[in-house]
Symmetry: C2
Subunit: 550 residues, 2 copies
């Protein structure tokens, strides 16, 4: 058995290591175009900030050590330029020597990854314009920061752009973040990204949403006057000085090699594989950012994430060596640290559900990370999407402490096929420093089931019934501080005595701070024959919509 | 509909609130013997330490506020002394007035809770001996600490005893903790509690395991010389001075009222209920610490936890008002903060599986809380118990950061019926500050599946094959620092070249730091025809057994 693996980072390195564990005697050769295998690409921004001070710690395993442990032949700076699926050979260029040779295979695993998209605008090739994808990119950015640049423009509000913006601020660089969409972090729905925009601005990032880059121009530097080297121009005519521009607007799959070899690819360029990670040719497998996957709705998607790439690598290796392992969907479970915030998502967003034409229900909650009587409890914003049958379709959480835990529990529940009914009954670990006797995940179940059972008819801040009476059921001191314009105050504890003051010919939308008292008010009003709804998530969620462009 | 609820803390308060949400018009009366309803009993130790400075924050809702919001009649300091299930009445004593009356019901929910066990030894009734179960208990302890006592003896190494020991140390009290069992925290297996004992001693708690209390004697105080008021005597003859003794040796269900009314109870005194929380009498439900539940193995158990009590209360209320909701098992998912440590468990322990005669496999892992190249990654000790079919039977984790997240994910997976095969594929949220591309939960799946598939035959530190060769496959520098006595060093990277040095007539147990390199060594050795095993969890887990009384 001779197994070749093309690409030595996440998916390829995982495939190689697994292949050796499965088969001690197979001949395995790993080709990597770059200098490093298995480097920590998710850690790149944090070396720029010196959060990770030691660059070497990003090199998880050196080719020499990997070879010593696995007996796998690792060929770095060797680029595979062609595959002959019929002859079962690949053509390789030794980049150091400039020589070319052919290598045969019994099985081949492709893990060529993705490449950052470089927009076709003037100035994009200026040496002070870079991506953040490789160690060399990181070194280039860090060298500029170490040299004392003052102003950076980061283009793109996805994971890498946001992480880098934070890391540059940590180094006291003035940062402008430019994002073409009207929101940050595309996996989330717009209203859920409002706290991210706040957090950016609170930490001194100038944020330009809905702003399209049109050109990057080199400034003529008259002298050492401190004038920036570059001017970043936007389509709306605005321009900003910059000493460094980093483009992080997305990636495209590196599928050229596969296409040349006649392997089938999808509409977005990803290599097509079956559930065994096999391409359209039987002895060739593909994994990682370069392949097309099914998302949680069963739709074709490109989802470049490290966790799925690693698992796909394991599975491809197992199958290449005779196993029968399968990969299902990529749920897109992801998490971001942004200064003091954590934002996380799993499954489908509301945007994605609308796009797919899939029916859904949604609820918002604003629970605390742990029992509020124990110090340090922090509010999180939680959005749950589910079907009328109770199937969990997606979840998004933004907050501080405890966000990563709840998204992982919800991701596990969703992948296990649990329903919102099951969420009510989940027995999670409770002690005051860690959670609540009714965990936010249980609460999400309670609220969702109330919606499905008809006990609650949620109103949403992005679609308030126009003629409804907005009833603020909080205490007077809360109402005086801040209320939704046009709302009438009637504290929850007084409603039963003041029913006569309420209209019977008009819908009433009750609201409170986070949605709990509003629901109790809804229940009381309905029991007395009123047409009532509860504003999901209360004024807290309403404010996300106001702030976030919902 | 007239619903009476007896007991106003966790289960009773949850039942009352839910009942009102379900039925706005029902007449609901909540009886509570004490002064408070719905107080935060899990927070009591933390007010002693002043971590929770404001005592009032433990009173989650006052009877007056609860009544205003729910319209439920709350009768505190009213004790129900008898139930007549045939006449459907209860006898109540108004403790303030000393008067007695009868109240009729259509449906009755019992949530009488549990009471701390008071051992039958001399001196247990001394006023300086207390429990920690009620707000009054807490006030008594805190008053003594505020008055400047120097020495406390805490009896019992369960959740409350451990939390209180920490909280007393936070107030600079000398603490001796006495536990009759040879280990702390009974839901965990002995070896997993070793880090807890270390943490206690590191924080200045004198720990006496396997020590039985025999008497508490009042010391004759000759003068103001600082002599302690009490002497705590152990069965082995040792004695310790104490200004305060707190007994936290466990609780027993408050089922006397139920027994008097002829309701069926279990062998350990818990009220018997069906899956709808109904007792042996159709219109009477029971919830919380007073009832017998099924544990994760389907065996009868008393499991006093706040989360299950709350859920049972919700379900009983729903069913009392005509619903059909069911409660399954109590998995015993629990978590403890102990100084800087977190210890958590879900499902069955190895002890419990042995006792039940249930076959099981076990593995140990020592993964990090997040990517090790990102600062702050902390090792956790993880034990997973599973069946030959891959069913998850239980999990225990002890560590610092990230323990509560992983136990909740494993608890969710177990309750969803996921297998260890499924754990491999769980797509959890990864970014360097939060986890790893292969999360500890995924890793637990990988290792368990390797065991089930026969790829790995784990050896365990509590049952090392007596004649095996122990092969230390770490680097020389690690071996020199500390090794298992009798082990032979052979770094992983050298094994393939040194096979001739190894015996073919004797089992080889490879080990490394945490079990990963040991597994690679096992795979290499097996591929070359050796009889090899991997020491599960490596020397790290071996040390837990040495330290912990395994």
């Amino acid at each position: 058995m001779k197994l070749l693996i093309i690409g030595g980072v996440a998916g390829g390195a995982s495939a190689a290591a697994r292949a050796r564990r499965v088969d001690e005697s197979a001949e395995i050769i790993l080709f990597e175009r770059g200098e490093h295998i298995s480097f920590a690409n998710c850690g790149l921004p944090y070396h720029v900030s010196e959060t990770i001070p030691d660059r070497d710690s990003l090199l998880i395993v050196t080719p020499a050590r990997f070879k010593a442990r696995t007996g796998i032949e690792v060929r770095v700076r060797h680029e595979v330029t062609a595959i002959d699926p019929d002859a079962k050979t690949v053509t390789v260029i030794d980049l150091a020597k400039g020589s070319r040779y052919t290598e045969s295979f019994d099985k081949l695993i492709l893990s060529p990854g993705a490449s950052p998209i470089r927009p076709g605008i003037p100035g994009v090739d200026d040496p002070a314009v870079t991506m953040l994808w490789t160690l060399a990119d990181m070194d280039r950015i860090k060298a500029r920061v170490d040299a004392g640049i003052r102003r950076a423009v980061v283009v793109g509000g996805g994971f890498i752009g946001l992480e880098l913006a934070e890391c540059l601020r940590d180094r006291n660089v003035d940062v402008t973040l430019v994002e073409m969409a009207p929101q940050l972090l595309p996996p989330l729905d717009p209203e859920m990204t409002a706290p991210l925009a706040d957090e950016m601005e609170r930490n001194g990032v100038r944020l330009l949403l809905g702003a399209a880059l049109s050109a990057i121009r080199r400034t003529t530097l008259p002298d050492d006057s401190g004038t920036a080297e570059l001017t970043v121009e936007l389509a709306d005519g605005r321009s900003f000085p910059a000493d460094l521009v980093v483009l992080a607007i997305g990636v495209r799959p590196n599928s050229e090699l596969a296409v040349s070899a006649g392997l089938a690819t999808g509409a977005r360029g990803g290599i097509l594989v079956d559930e065994r990670m096999q391409t359209s040719r039987p002895d060739i497998y593909a994994v990682g950012d370069a392949i097309q996957v099914s998302d949680s709705l069963g739709r074709p998607a490109q989802i470049p994430l490290a966790g799925p790439a690693n698992r796909q690598g394991r599975i491809a290796a197992g199958n290449a060596l005779g196993g029968t392992e399968t990969y299902r969907a990529t749920f897109g479970t992801s998490v971001l640290k942004l200064f003091g915030l954590t934002a996380a998502a799993t499954g489908a967003s509301e945007k994605a559900l609308k796009l797919a034409g899939a029916p859904y229900e949604k609820i918002y909650l604003n629970p605390f990370s742990h029992a509020t009587y124990y110090p340090g409890a922090q509010m999180m914003h939680l959005k749950l999407l589910f079907s009328r049958e109770g199937r969990i379709l997606g979840a998004q959480i933004v907050g501080r402490d405890g966000v990563d835990k709840r998204i992982d529990v919800l991701a596990t529940a969703m992948q296990a096929g649990l329903t919102v009914y099951d969420l009510q009954a989940l027995e999670l670990a409770y002690a005051p420093p860690y959670g609540s006797a009714k965990d936010p995940v249980n609460f999400a179940g309670f609220v969702a089931v109330n919606v499905l059972s008809g006990k609650s008819n949620p109103a949403h801040a992005d679609a308030l019934p126009p003629d409804a009476l907005l009833l603020d059921v909080r205490e007077p001191v809360e109402f005086e501080l801040e209320a939704i314009p046009g709302a009438r105050p009637m504290p929850l504890g007084t409603i039963r005595d003041r029913l006569a003051e309420l209209p019977r010919d008009r819908e009433i939308v009750a609201y409170c701070a986070v949605g709990i008292r509003g629901y109790l008010a809804e229940r009381i009003l309905k029991a007395h024959g009123f047409e009532a709804r509860n504003l999901s998530g209360g004024i807290t969620t309403w404010k996300l919509f106001r702030a976030g462009g919902g």
